[in-house]
């Protein structure tokens, strides 16, 4: 069994030095005349290309209209240019192209995967996606239909204890900050969104200056430039979205929501870090040790392996444009919720007190470095990475230097970062489950 640390490190050097070009995707980046940022990796071995467009138009831009970012993004499926929703879907599906939209708190995403060996196919895909991001129809009937879908979706969210917990957790951490509300909005806000609102939102945020286009696949540089040109030809330059407000840290509140479920869902956490945080690496690597390495993390060992309390238990920092959350999550039968919560708290307190055990830190680093080839082993993973790198303005050598930067993190740095940044006595605590069984106060809220 060859799993001794030294051998791995030397293997890694071999991987990183002479084979850099092979092991790490070579990213090219440029800014178009209109101001869109392009991230591109040439992968010629399969006759396909992935195009991922990321607009700074996630729900953090909802402002006074919660749900508008998600609704606008979804409506991009429902007609563009001269094509109604049916025609638009046919334009992609008749040639085997895949078109998807999604929206998060920071990002509004429009993705395309298409074949490249037939120029007609490629052109049809690109022309269609260009219409999608520049001339959406926002047809009134489609808007009404999608609005109803969102309302049904909001009801469905209410029947899942985990979703209820997650929503309450964000609200508790962020309050009125743009990260605080449910990205789907709420029944009142969604009902109030007008066609005009959607058109204005689109006009403001779906613009070249607010866009990162990532391209990965069998198109050469000249073709990639053409692809971007084709997609953004009709797109106004517009303006980059304004910086998000800073997150203010408040006292962590404890919230218990009564829910007719057999399990109690536990969310514990606080605002964590932003994408540009100077403590990013020590917090990332430290959390890998603590609760971010699946079944072998300290948290999983204590909660799941030793006590059989939970099927899924983990912690993570979700770095975002502003300070994304740090969270610890588990679910357990109602009767054992207090026990699980206690173990989670105690583990965090211990970790902050003692820092990561050296041996575990070594194992985590080995996992991250040895697993690096897995992170960039497919076009779909590469396109997601480079879009992220472009969106958060990371340097182009982010991937190439990732392993060496992780290797350089010390136990002291982690210890210090956790001590300074994580406040175990001030965590927001959200429990959602049957309160008569899980022992939380069962006062009713007005």
């Amino acid at each position: 069994m060859a799993h001794n640390g030294r051998r791995i490190v030397s293997l890694l050097l071999v991987l990183l030095l002479p084979l850099t070009a092979q092991a790490t995707p070579e990213i090219q980046s440029w800014i178009t005349a209109k101001g869109a940022k392009v991230m591109y990796v040439h992968v010629p071995d399969l006759p396909m290309v992935d195009v991922r467009m990321v607009f700074d138009a996630g729900s953090a831009r909802d402002d006074s209209k919660p749900g508008i970012a998600a609704l606008t993004n979804t409506l991009l499926n429902d007609g563009a240019g001269e094509w109604n929703a049916n025609h638009l879907a046919e334009r992609f599906e008749n040639i085997g192209a895949r078109f998807t939209t999604s929206s998060l708190r920071d990002m509004a995403i429009v993705s395309l995967r298409t074949l490249t060996d037939d120029e007609e196919v490629l052109n049809q895909s690109l022309d269609t996606i260009a219409a999608v991001v520049t001339q959406p129809q926002f047809d009134e009937e489609e808007i009404e239909r999608r609005r109803q879908q969102v309302l049904v979706g909001l009801e469905q969210q209410k029947q899942n204890a985990g979703t209820v917990a997650s929503k309450a957790f964000y609200k508790s951490l962020y309050g009125d900050h743009p990260y605080g509300h449910n990205p789907s909005g709420n029944a009142v806000s969604v009902a109030a969104i007008t066609v005009e609102d959607i058109r204005n939102y689109f006009k403001q945020y779906y613009v070249a200056s607010n866009l990162v286009v990532a391209i990965v696949g069998a198109v050469d540089r000249a073709q990639a430039e053409k692809v971007v040109e084709q997609i953004t030809a009709e797109m106004p330059a517009g303006e980059k979205a304004a910086p998000l407000p800073k997150v203010t840290f408040s006292t962590g509140e404890s919230l218990s929501i009564d829910f007719p479920s057999t399990q109690t869902h536990i969310y514990l956490g606080q605002p964590g870090m932003s994408r540009s945080d100077p403590d990013y690496l020590p917090l990332y690597v430290g959390n890998h040790v603590f609760g971010g390495s699946g079944l072998v993390s300290m948290l999983s060992e204590e909660v799941r392996e030793k006590r059989g309390l939970s099927y899924s238990v983990y912690s993570y920092f979700s770095p975002m444009r502003a300070e994304g959350p740090f969270m610890m999550v588990a679910q357990t039968r109602n009767e054992r919720a207090e026990e699980a919560l206690g173990v989670m708290r105690e583990q965090l307190a211990d970790f902050i007190k003692n820092g990561p055990p050296e041996e575990r830190l070594e194992r985590s680093k080995n996992n991250i470095s040895g697993g690096f080839p897995l992170r960039v082993s497919s076009n779909s993973k590469i396109v997601e990475y480079i879009a992220m790198i472009g969106f958060y303005d990371y340097p182009l050598d982010y991937l190439a230097t990732f392993v060496s930067r992780v290797e350089a993190v010390t136990a002291e740095q982690i210890h210090s970062a956790f001590k300074r940044r994580v406040h175990p006595n001030n965590l927001a605590t959200v429990l959602v489950g049957n309160s008569s069984e899980n022992g939380t106060p069962a006062e009713k809220q007005e």
Partner: protein, 464 residues
Amino acid sequence: MTKTGSAFLGLLATIALFPLAVQASQVQEFELENGMKVIVKEDHRAPIAVSQVWYKVGSSYEPEGQTGISHVLEHLMFKGTERYGPNEFSKIISENGGRENAFTGRDYTAYFQTLSSDRLNIAFDLEADRMRNLLLDEKEFQKERDVVTEERRLRTEDKPTALTYEQFNAVAWRVLPYRRPIIGWMSDLENLKIEDLRDWYQLWYAPNNATLVVVGDVDAEKIHTMAQETFGQLPPSDLPVMKTPVEPAHNGVTRLQVKAPAKQPYLLMGFKAPVVTTVSEENAWEPYAMEALAAVLDGGDSARLSRSLIRGSSIANSAGASYNAYTRLPGMVMFDGVPAEGRSIKDLEKALLSEIEKVKAEPVAADELKRVVTQTVASKVYEKDSVFYQAMQIGMLETVGLDWRLTDSYVEKLRAVTPEQVQEVAQRYLQPDNMTIAILDPQPMDEKQAESKSRPHVGVKHGS
């Protein structure tokens, strides 16, 4: 660890569409002396490889009263052998930069590791060890059974649509073991004893009941040698011979209602149908006609259900159709959906049935079938982006008793389907007398919210 197979139509559909190849794949097949099958597909795009060990055992092999035992055993496979302590398997793989997990389905239990391709020997060594030398310690079993009951609560008990699916299967199938949930009934899980697990392990975990699939940056001959040096050293077993149960005729529509705390109703409808493993030679086209049927109805936003029910009449908030041609025992063409705001579950049922009637009354358009084939051909290219998915296809086909070469011939078989054949299978199988229909009837959730800013936190109970 562990996904418990697909509980929802979305997942079923992914498997069902199972887009397969145009040109022959670069696959090599070996058989070790102890009967273990080794299938290797070289793919040199990235310096990684996936290794999957598939066992021919899953929930459809389980006896009454022991439902869920295959899945519990899958969990216990991470709990130590004579050489390696509990959880050490996971630690070693992790330390080597690998990702690993396992999953149990109706017809299979599979274990996988994805690693830098020069470290596959580590996975082989560990995987061969636990194929024959599992400890099955009583204490570890007790804890892990708790974990599995938590998994059941998370995935089924507290999920109204999953509960509906579970009840649907229990009622729709009279005889076929597909009537039992993969994760097992709660009472069966509670009644399991470590001895049951030991027996189950002895019965099924043997090299001659397993297939090793490797896809990635490897040399097939070297993999063969490595497999011989590890798995090849294990003794084979006498495997039990299973009787094949036969589902009796379904004489009339079966309806069921599932009451659970929920906000939205949900409908699930299924029609029993043959699959590739069970059709006669002259009807070998039928499963492919049903795959085409499902894709005409639900192969994207331009397909019929989206076009007519979600948009169009706006009766459905969501609607799906699925069918999987590749299972060990017969299957179902399934439909599901959630009514749109202001529409009833009755409206949705009527609308789905009328879409079915349309397929029966009139051959589908040539354009629709063409779209299905084009999408499948494209998917065939896209799937090469994932070594894991390629290995999944091979492993699943082999384990349900089919030939991995079907991945190569799928497109041709689909291309050969005619509009009349789609109509014919619809007429033959999508009949009311062959139908089971389940309705989730939402019960009040009675939410109340308690907030206490300074709730005292009870101390830890140090249990173990």
